[in-house]
């Protein structure tokens, strides 16, 4: 072998290594953060994960909740096997038969062991035949209580981050309105609980710290904006009489922007969410309607709906309302696009557009302005991004009544989130709710 040939082979081998590292990253749709296991998977595929049976009185619930969280995250393929069909895992003294688990499709094995204060999690890399990560997680007392479940969701999210590089979205909650009351529900559809007891509410949103929510209440003389501490007191945002709606918090949590309508159209106003400073108008619609603001993640831009062209379209402006640009244009049969929601990673804006007389959920890339349509069955509207910028909660009547559904924009698969009597709407996904 000549030196030249040896150099060429070395170069090819090096290129192969680079490609093998780079290609899996292409399969991920969001910025990779945190530690990532060395499990390599091809783009468009999901690593197989086998959650081993969990001992203890809450063992079955722990396994079921973690498996469901992985499934809902749409990044892992949960290998569902009957307990009797799972090969012996070893007793600690003998090494598990990793090749057998690999043949079952498992890239990772999850071993959860109850402890006196919570659970210990061991993640096995079946391909390498090693224990990749071990960590003990505390869980609050009261198995299956809302706090216990939230803590377990947080564990599942962290494990998902270990395996895929992207944190899961299980430890989140979603606000919605049913029967005029504001509810919150866990991301897996459990623990639906009413947060308000009276009045007709609309358009609830979280603040960035998830410590407060804001929503609109409809009275006999107009609409007001209410700010409510989660589990605490409420206050009415000082506004002028008339229509006050679609509140949203700036990423710093201090500023709130809302739409105020009187006799000369509806415009966006900004004010201190927890202070008393007078609201300042940030759009000049000249009689048109300007509503549904959504901040960019850096807080420097705003997306909103405006009827300044005579029909609703989505615009982007600076946070002070200047330099407004039309974002959506006539690319479907009806000039009606509204309800923008800026993705947490800043890359996409989801919105609703009328197609054939029905609203459908769409998204537009902010770099390439490429529009993707995500729904077609029934009426689909009011999209709200999950923290992973990959999932949307939206309202759909595809099941007969308006309910919340969750959409994976990568695969366009959906799952029903709520089954509220009389219907549900105005879904708003929370930021991550860390339990620790």
């Amino acid at each position: 072998m000549t030196i030249l040939r040896r150099c060429a082979l070395t170069l090819l081998a090096g290129l192969a290594v680079v490609i093998s590292v780079a290609v899996p990253a292409l399969g991920q749709d969001t910025t990779v953060t945190g530690v990532r296991l060395g499990i390599v998977y091809a783009p468009g595929t999901r690593p197989g994960v086998l959650v081993l049976p969990v001992s203890g009185t809450a063992g079955d619930s722990i396994k079921a909740i973690i498996e469901r969280d992985f499934t809902n995250g749409d990044r892992l393929n949960v290998i569902a096997l009957e307990a009797a069909a799972i090969p012996p895992f070893g007793d600690g003294n003998t090494k598990p038969n990793y090749p057998l688990f690999t043949r079952l499709g498992a890239a990772a094995l999850l071993q959860v062991t109850p402890t006196s204060f919570g659970i210990q999690v061991d993640v096995h890399n079946a391909g390498k035949g090693i224990v990749e990560r071990t960590k003990a997680f505390p869980l609050p007392a009261g198995a299956l209580s809302p706090n216990w479940r939230l803590a377990l969701h947080d564990v599942a999210d962290e494990i998902e981050q270990w395996i895929t590089g992207v944190r899961g979205i299980s430890a989140t909650r979603i606000l919605y309105v049913a029967g005029g009351r504001v509810y919150q529900v866990d991301s897996d559809g459990a623990n639906a609980v009413a947060l308000t007891s009276s009045g007709i509410a609309m358009s609830p949103v979280w603040n960035p710290a998830a410590s407060h929510i804001a929503y609109m209440t409809m009275g006999s003389t107009g609409q007001q904006i209410v700010i409510r501490e989660v589990g605490g007191a409420t206050r009415i945002l000082p506004t002028r009489d008339g229509l006050n709606m679609t509140p949203t918090f700036a990423p710093d949590g201090n500023t709130i922007v809302y739409a105020h309508g009187a006799e000369s159209g509806t415009d966006l106003y900004a004010t201190n969410a927890f202070g008393t400073e007078p609201a300042r108008r940030i759009t000049v619609g000249r009689g048109s309607d300007n509503t549904q603001p959504s901040y960019s993640p850096d807080g420097r831009r705003l997306a909103f709906t405006s009827g300044r062209l005579g029909h609703p379209e989505v615009y982007i402006s600076d946070a002070d309302g200047t330099n407004a640009d039309l974002l959506t244009r006539d690319y479907v049969d009806q000039p009606y696009r509204a309800n923008p929601d800026w993705s947490p990673d800043g890359r996409l804006i989801a919105f609703e557009a009328q197609v054939g007389g029905r609203l459908q959920v769409m998204s537009i890339g902010l770099r390439d302005r490429v529009v993707k349509r995500h729904t077609s069955e029934g009426v689909n509207e009011q999209p709200s991004w999950a923290p992973d910028s990959r999932h949307l909660v939206f309202t759909s009547n595809r099941g007969g009544s308006r309910q919340l559904w969750v959409l994976d924009v990568e695969s366009n698969t959906v799952r029903q989130l709520t089954h509220a009597t009389g219907g549900a709407r105005f879904g708003a996904w929370s930021p991550p709710l860390r339990s620790r």
Binding site: L243, G287, P312, E381
Partner: protein, 199 residues
């Protein structure tokens, strides 16, 4: 007696016999006709007086009832005119000719009742964004208020509110339901108890 006298006698007899054999015509029984009382005692006069009062009262009551009915009809018509909704085209706050006519019909009532105050509620059909529809309803209510103000009605007498698509008149998903739901409604919030129909 000659022969001539005998024949005459026999004829008379025959006629008498025939006459006797004929059925006697019936005669109506004779009844006693009361003799009118030439004078009415006190009891009689009281009865007549009571009868005449009752008749007068009845006539007055009928007239009052007719007047009340007419008044109620006029008031109902006034209220109906005042409450009559005006309708809009899809995604529009523009007042059509029919809408202007319906508003023009309210003007005499509003002028005849200066103490009357109205709440104008803008509504939309179910299509479109729930929140954008609130803004659209607000625009519709404002357009109605602006028109009435332009016709000389004090704006202070009118409040506006939007219910968007939250209070449909018809809870169906059809063109007809949508048409009926794209409306501005009118609610009396003061002065309704003193309402008078315009002359």
């Amino acid at each position: 007696m000659n022969r001539g006298h005998r024949v005459l006698a026999l004829s008379v007899l025959a006629l008498a016999a025939i006459s006797a054999c004929k059925k006697k015509p019936e005669t109506a029984p004779v009844t006693a006709t009361p003799t009118p009382t030439p004078t009415c005692d006190q009891r009689c006069r009281d009865s007549i007086s009571a009868f005449e009062k009752r008749r007068a009262d009845s006539v007055a009551a009928a007239a009052a009832a007719a007047e009340a009915t007419a008044r109620e009809r006029a008031m109902a018509a006034t209220k109906a005119t005042l409450a009559a909704a005006v309708y809009f085209e899809y995604d529009s706050d523009e007042l059509s000719g029919d809408a202007r006519s319906a508003l023009d019909a309210k003007l005499p009532i509003l002028r005849a009742n200066p103490g009357l105050r109205l709440r104008i509620a803008g509504n939309t059909d179910e299509r479109g964004s729930d929140e954008y529809n609130l803004a659209l309803g607000q625009r519709r209510a404002a357009a109605v208020k602006r028109y009435l103000s332009d016709q000389g009605i004090d704006g202070e007498r009118m409040e506006i509110i939007s219910y968007g698509e939250e209070r449909p008149a018809i809870t169906e998903s059809s063109e007809e339901a949508w048409r009926m739901n794209r409306r501005a409604e009118f609610e009396i919030i003061a002065g309704g108890d003193m309402l008078v129909a315009p002359r």
